[in-house]
């Protein structure tokens, strides 16, 4: 009998293996196996680093040759009904193999020792129940998970589809909103499945959960991952899930698989969370979420919420480790001295009281678990603080960038297919009544070269209407320094009245000098003219009429620096393709301008690339019948997308088109957002490390309290109650750390905001570190940290609940 079992085991194993090989061979022939060798699949399994190492030794080529060799040795698939034969056969073999294997293990094992006196008596029911596999639980877990995935996909596609139709009215659901709603539903369903499953079996049922995730959960992300590679999948499934792939690609940095697996991981986490909640809530026989004695006991065990402890951790978070430690040591030493002196004096009168005081003084030492608790709280605090600070600073940069972009750029533009928009006045009148529109101005945009005596540079030239440009961009503001006019920065009006341009004085260094006195006075002392400089003709430039006043031009500060010009100087604008048709194609066209002003936006790209001239000058220079388009400004930037759409509809579409600022700078903001996400994930690692500390702490607590757990169980605490006690302990550490981190992080952010951390403006183009505290991401940081600590304490808490009452009662 025993030999047969061994035979079953070996045979079953071999069959299952052969089946697997057949499946793999079948898949290899369809060239899908290569997909699984990607570093993603292996990275997930923990072999990523190893594979990278192999690849770096040039094994990648080896793999390809081996793969090609295998594929070539396999007979080519004939297009017959049998093409899936080996896959189906392999599947069959695999199942049969596992069946045999299970037979090899389920038969009665030969007795190891002689029969006991208990032979023939009924088995203890609890032992009989012990191996029970709950099919209902498996169903709840598996179907819950599958339903979560499918419902999420379905709802997302539905919402996005709706959104696309409803988009015309401007009220459609964006991808992100739709995803969030669908994701929420998915999480809820997965958690619900876990909850019901665990409540059904009354235990955690890890085998069921594993099977559910592997067999019910995995196929969906696998199919999604294969979708783009396998033709018929794409044809039958992919077309319906285009939007999913699109969003997932955004989530996963252009690798949709990453997005799928991230979501899959989140769903699995939700299942685990729900399953734990289900177990904890119902293990005492009914739904019981109260935490009365549990938190009473937990409080005594960890004692996190002591002012002294919280204060010292807070001090460490705010001031770093060394200063509080020094302070602590000094205070401790002082306390000791004072206390001992007091005791000595007391001892002269009452030895009894003195010995008692001494005893109390010595007892103040800390236990190892108390130290660990402190460390864990501190760790979580550091993680949350770092998250909050870094995310806030990044938000600050983003806001800064946004305001700079919006300062120089408009919130939206109206363009026209073809070249110009001669009817711009009518268009402006037409869209003027749009609610929420704050300003509009026509513009011409083109690329030119700008040359001065000193240098030459490629630039974007923009023809503007000085009257209305201020309603859309901050250009007038950028022409002032600290809100005041100055001689070295010129004036916007000089663009149309170049005859009024006053030359700026020169500092000895040749740099434009700022007027320290400020003052809006127009009658600056006339600098003595260095005769000849202005009238010097430039090379290749047509000699200007001496009496004719040159038109004005505004340059950015960086550009002016590199061209070595200042207000009143002359620059030459060259349009490479603007001139008449010559024998070798279009001739360059050039025209001299006089610098009417130098603006400073604080954004290097603009200050070094953009120049402004009067709209009519620009139309004349480029031979245009009208402006390129209109720039728009809205009262609320966040409405830009909606309002540009509305204007588009108002203009009845073609030949007009509109774009908003988000679309114009899409890549920039996408990159920023991605960077923030990556930073968030990286910083969460700190929290995860802290969570490791919490695991260690709670495990230590469990080990330390084993006997007490046994006693508590003897007093009638259920398994769920024990789990709740230790979960509460972990959660207390997490909440204390999270709150401390929150306060410290906000404190740091306020410090950075109010006091400021200076940055080298040459490098960062911004004087001080910007911060912007965003409520959502701040709260999210804390919630994620607390959630992670909660998850971290699940395992030790379960360990604690496994302690048998009798076990603790015997160890003396």
């Amino acid at each position: 009998m025993k030999d047969l079992r061994v035979l079953f085991r070996w045979l079953g194993g071999a069959l299952a293996l052969a089946g697997l090989a057949a499946i793999l061979a079948g898949l290899a022939r369809r060239e899908v196996v290569g997909l699984f060798s990607g570093d993603l699949a292996l990275g997930v399994l923990g072999w990523g680093a190893f594979v990278e190492l192999l690849v770096s030794f040039g094994v990648a080529g080896l793999y390809d040759t081996v793969h090609a060799a295998i594929v070539s040795t396999l007979p080519k698939v004939k297009s017959s009904g049998l093409e899936n034969l080996e896959i189906w056969a392999g599947l069959g073999l695999w199942v049969v193999g596992w069946g045999l294997l299970s037979q090899g293990f389920t038969g009665p094992e030969a007795a190891a020792s002689p029969p006991s006196a208990a032979v023939g008596t009924p088995l203890h029911p609890r032992i009989a129940q012990y191996r029970d596999f709950h099919w209902g639980t498996l169903a709840a877990y598996g179907l819950g998970f599958l339903l979560a995935e499918v419902a999420m996909l379905g709802l997302f596609v539905l919402l996005v589809g709706k959104g696309a139709q409803a988009g015309a009215e401007g009220g459609g659901l964006g991808h992100v909103t739709a995803f969030l709603i669908a994701f929420g539903l998915g999480l809820l369903l997965a958690a619900l499945g876990g909850f019901l499953g665990a409540a059904h079996s009354g235990r955690l049922s890890t085998p069921e959960a594993t099977i559910a995730i592997l067999y019910f959960g995995l196929p969906v992300p696998i199919v999604l991952s294969l979708m783009t590679q396998v033709g018929w999948l794409m044809l039958h499934v992919g077309v319906h899930l285009r939007e999913v792939a699109y969003l997932s690609a955004q989530l996963g940095e252009n690798r949709p698989e990453l997005g799928y697996w991230l979501v899959f991981g989140a769903l699995a986490l939700a299942l685990v969370l729900g399953l734990n909640l289900g177990f904890v809530a119902t293990s005492s026989g009914r739904l019981d979420l109260k935490l009365t004695y549990e938190s009473f006991i937990a409080n005594r065990h960890v004692q996190v919420f002591r002012p002294r402890l919280l204060l010292s951790i807070f001090a460490v978070l705010i001031l770093g480790i060394v200063p509080p430690l020094v302070l602590y040591l000094i205070v401790m030493a002082a306390e000791q001295v004072v206390e001992r002196t007091r005791i000595r004096h007391l001892g002269l009168k009452d030895p009894l009281l003195a010995s008692e005081a001494l005893h109390a003084l010595k007892k103040r030492g800390q236990t190892p678990t108390a130290m660990m608790t402190t460390l864990s709280v501190g760790g979580v605090g550091v993680g949350v603080m770092a998250l909050i600070i870094v995310l806030s600073v990044m938000s600050g940069f983003e806001l800064d960038l946004q305001s700079k972009i919006l300062g120089t750029n408009s919130h939206g533009v109206v363009l026209k297919y073809g070249d110009a928009m001669p009817e711009w006045r009518e268009v402006m009148d037409k869209i003027a009544p749009v609610k929420g529109l704050a300003g509009q101005t026509p513009f011409v945009l083109n690329e030119v070269m700008i040359s001065s005596d000193g240098n030459i540079s490629g630039s974007m030239i923009k023809g503007i209407d000085p009257e209305s440009v201020g309603t859309v961009t901050d250009l007038p503001k950028y022409l002032k320094r600290d809100g005041l006019d100055c001689p070295s920065c010129g004036k916007l009006e000089w663009l149309t009245t170049p005859e009024k341009i006053v030359r700026a004085r020169l500092t000895p260094m040749g740099e434009p000098m700022l007027d320290e006195k400020g003052g809006a006075a127009v009658d600056w002392p006339k600098p003595e003219r260095k005769s000849g400089l202005e009238d010097d003709p430039l090379i290749e430039a047509p000699k200007p009429d001496a009496t004719k006043v040159l038109p004005g031009i505004l340059l950015g500060k960086e550009l002016a620096l590199s061209l070595k010009v200042q207000v009143g100087d002359r620059v030459n604008v060259v349009s490479p393709l603007g001139g008449e048709l010559g024998p070798q194609g279009p001739m360059p066209k050039s025209r001299p301008f006089k610098v009417a002003g130098i603006f400073y936006s604080g954004m290097y790209e603009y200050d070094s690339k953009f120049v402004y001239i009067d709209l009519h000058q620009a139309m004349d220079f480029f031979n245009l019948k009208g402006p390129t388009g209109l720039e728009l400004k809205f009262e609320d930037v966040d409405n830009a997308r909606r309002l540009t759409r509305q204007i588009y509809d108002l203009l009845e579409g073609y030949p007009y088109r509109t774009r908003d600022w988000g679309e114009m700078n899409k890549n920039l903001f996408a990159a920023l957002r991605l960077e923030k996400l990556v930073m968030g994930i990286i910083l969460s690692v700190i929290v995860i490390v802290a969570a490791g500390l919490i695991v260690a702490t709670v495990i230590m607590l469990v080990l330390e309290k084993r006997k007490e757990i046994a006693v508590l169980k003897a007093l009638g605490v259920s398994d769920g109650g024990v789990v709740k006690i230790f979960l509460t302990e972990g959660l207390q550490i997490g909440i204390a750390g999270g709150l401390l981190g929150l306060v410290a992080g906000l404190g740091w952010c306020l410090f950075i905001e109010k006091v400021g951390i200076k940055l080298d403006p040459q490098v960062y183009y911004i004087p001080a570190l910007p911060v912007r505290i965003e409520a959502f991401q701040t709260v999210l940081s804390v919630v994620v940290a607390v959630l992670i600590t909660f998850l971290a304490s699940i395992y030790p808490a379960l360990e604690a609940s496994q302690v048998e009452p009798v076990e603790g009662l015997k160890s003396e």
């Binding site: 009924p122 088995l123 609890r126 293990s283 004695y293 065990h301 508590l712 009638g716 259920s718 009452p805």
Partner: protein, 227 residues
Amino acid sequence: MTPFLELKDVHKSYFLHGKRIDVLRGVSLTIEKGELVSLIGSSGSGKSTFLHVMGTLDAAASGTLRFEGRDVFAMNDAELAELRNQTFGFVFQSHFLLPEFTAAENVAMPGLIRRQDRKACDLRARELLDRVGLLARADHRPGELSGGESQRVALARALMLKPALLLADEPTGNLDPATGEGIHQLLREVNRDLGVTAVVVTHNETLARLMPRRLRISEGRVVTAEG
């Protein structure tokens, strides 16, 4: 009429280093409501094991245990927890108080676990401590109590929820004869006044002789003690 407590053919063995130690070899026993039972036996004869199995703290290998007709061995974790909390009271061979809590809190713990009001529990705990003569020590931690005092606190804790069945494993082990006698006196009072059924393991034959029913455990079986 269903008996109060009924054990039938209960087996329990330990396996250690490949050797089997058969501690309980088919124990059958009925205890009626209101009985006061003493259990004696030589050291290592399995008294504690028997008490633990009876109190559901340890799982037997086979056999049945019926409490008021209910099959205790078939109960799930939640039902067992409730049974231990509300129906059984334990006093262990060594006291096993919770070190972080004061004597009063230790005594009140079963009530708290039953989610009774904290105030009411505290009052009752102090009443019980008064009864075992330890009201003055109510706010001491276990580390600040003597062994005998701890044992008395443990007894008070076992009585907190007026258990139907009190299982005491050598409650007088650490006590001087006079105090030990006091504890037994208390047990008899509890049995008489509150109608608590009690099984008391003891080494002290003289004290055991004062109990109405005497059992002896030997060779894995429980028999009625003679004398």
